[in-house]
Symmetry: none
Subunit: 204 residues, 4 copies
Amino acid sequence: MNGGSVSKFMRDPDKPQQIIDAAIRVFARGGYYNSRVSDIAREAGIASGTIYLYFKTKDEILVTLFREKMAEWVALVRREIAAERDPLAKIRKIVALHFKVLEESPDLAEVVQVELRQGHKFFRGASAHEVSAYFDVIQSVLEEGVAAGRIRRDLPLKVATKMLFGAMDQLATSWVLGKRGYRLTEAAEPVATIFLQGVGAHGV
Amino acid sequence: MNGGSVSKFMRDPDKPQQIIDAAIRVFARGGYYNSRVSDIAREAGIASGTIYLYFKTKDEILVTLFREKMAEWVALVRREIAAERDPLAKIRKIVALHFKVLEESPDLAEVVQVELRQGHKFFRGASAHEVSAYFDVIQSVLEEGVAAGRIRRDLPLKVATKMLFGAMDQLATSWVLGKRGYRLTEAAEPVATIFLQGVGAHGV
Amino acid sequence: MNGGSVSKFMRDPDKPQQIIDAAIRVFARGGYYNSRVSDIAREAGIASGTIYLYFKTKDEILVTLFREKMAEWVALVRREIAAERDPLAKIRKIVALHFKVLEESPDLAEVVQVELRQGHKFFRGASAHEVSAYFDVIQSVLEEGVAAGRIRRDLPLKVATKMLFGAMDQLATSWVLGKRGYRLTEAAEPVATIFLQGVGAHGV
Amino acid sequence: MNGGSVSKFMRDPDKPQQIIDAAIRVFARGGYYNSRVSDIAREAGIASGTIYLYFKTKDEILVTLFREKMAEWVALVRREIAAERDPLAKIRKIVALHFKVLEESPDLAEVVQVELRQGHKFFRGASAHEVSAYFDVIQSVLEEGVAAGRIRRDLPLKVATKMLFGAMDQLATSWVLGKRGYRLTEAAEPVATIFLQGVGAHGV
DNA sequence: TATGAATGAGCCTTCATTCAT
DNA sequence: GATGAATGAAGGCTCATTCAT
């Protein structure tokens, strides 16, 4: 296949990813502060010192994890909604994707919804850029909707953007905290519908 | 013998409150994990050992803090909306209160929106009950709205409840993370309006 | 007696001294870099964390040890030579004291002559001041000798000062490294005599 | 098969020297304990693993460095003083050489005067032999001086030897620690003169 | 009750050394 | 021989908790 051979002059390019994947599983189990670096190493099948060849500190693992997943996430959303014309359909698509991705990655969901909420490290820190990129995507779709006359002209866009994100986020968090006892994706339709009626022009 | 007098068998009834208030200020400054028990003690003007006369562990301070504030909060909301007849006005009242309380208590807001988000300790732990009480309040108002024909009959109540909470919560979080650079209460009206249009019967 | 009672509002004032004394014994045994902080704690009969109530770092123990002993040393020398009139007798006194003190404190001698020689940490660092105070004492005695016509007028004082210190220091080091197999104090008379003849006016 | 050609059974004969030279530069910069084996490797332009083909441990680099330089040094001194007849001139030569060599090799001087002073590893360990060879050279010159009637008959030779070494050593150390802000070689004449007057027969 | 010095378990990180290539 | 990624033991330091006063 490809990528099978690793030059001896190059650090294993898969290691950082393996470490991040292991970290997701470990953090999902016990939380960031309760996880030891050596736990991540064991989960990744490497020595703990090896982690420090790829990450400067334990914190950096978490920050990198978040940035990477968030960047992947935004790229995915952008790609998927590009296929849609209708701004309202785009909103529905975003909500559906948001829930689908989390539902398909329970460990990641656990980490994102529960562990990554220490604002001091994340939303406020190095990851703020990635988060706001997602907000930007949502907001620009809303702007499209306004331009297309499908969303009311006087909608406070920033407020509506945060509302939609907050709504999706809370549904996801409740689902995670409730041990994922139902299907998150089933919430996509009602969430989108309520939001769109809320922001729509006339009655939509 | 009971009542106002402090017998030698009764701890100072103000101390726990002083400790919690000090903890709010300390956590707001540096976060829970970065704050030392001794920091709280110093802020409260007592010795660190004294804290352990009133709280078994550091964790318990945070849990108690959260439960207490949440209980106060729910009680306040219940009291305030009792004065309203109209279910929709009740929703508006809830949103307005939610933002007003946070805006008036910046330290508490910081702690609640940023520090208390480690689900392992809170939403999932001992505090789940207090959180769900707030959800219950919201949901029962929505039910009233349905009964009064002001909210659409087929609304998935749990989803809508979480959406409203999530929307308010995200607005609050963004406001805190954005260093509170604007007035949170100004968002109350648009948030309520969008939500109510989203869930309202006909076009409302 | 005095000093017997320790107020509960004051850290034990003897602890730092106890720690330093324990450190001298431990460093004498195995060297600074081979000694663990926990070794010092055990030797002092306290918990390792307690050390950090009195010293910020392991390094600080060594620096403090050195400064304190050096300051005591210079004070002792100053006091003793004050009793002498004759500058040459003062030099003899310094040499005798130098060797006597080291001979009477084998552990301290070991640490001072062997462990404290990492210039980066000591002679060049925070302890430079204490070392130069000793040099100052020697040099001012030499100046007295010149003024009294007992030491040759054209003597390069700084060079002579360093020579005497270096000579004493090497004798002490050799004695320590040679496992103290003979009496260091016996070297005092010849060292002083040779030095004084070297710097003396006429033939002395 | 032996001689100039490097068979596959013989390690590169220049490597150890390159490593030692690199080590001198590295240790001079940051000290032995603060230098990493990988720093030495980088400075030598090789991989860190390669160092272990030539040295069993990091310690061995330092010991070898010291032995080698000390052996070179003793050989040089022996060669140079052989040209002199007069024992007193030989002493002057030794002092002049001692300072000249150090002045011409600032990195080596730094390492020898500052880094190599951890007696546990060096003076007391494997390097004791090389050090004593230098002492032997000095002492035998003094013996010559006694035999020639130029040095007093009752001089305690071992003490005088150590004094001269200690004096030179301290001058060198002060010069290194003082950032080499003056010419060390200028101290050679006064040091020799004072010492020789100190040990000389009559007034010399 | 209140104190705060003392405790000691716990963990991140470093870095000398190894070894598969 | 040469490489450098991987190893994992080791230890300085922190801080929640205890307890003698």
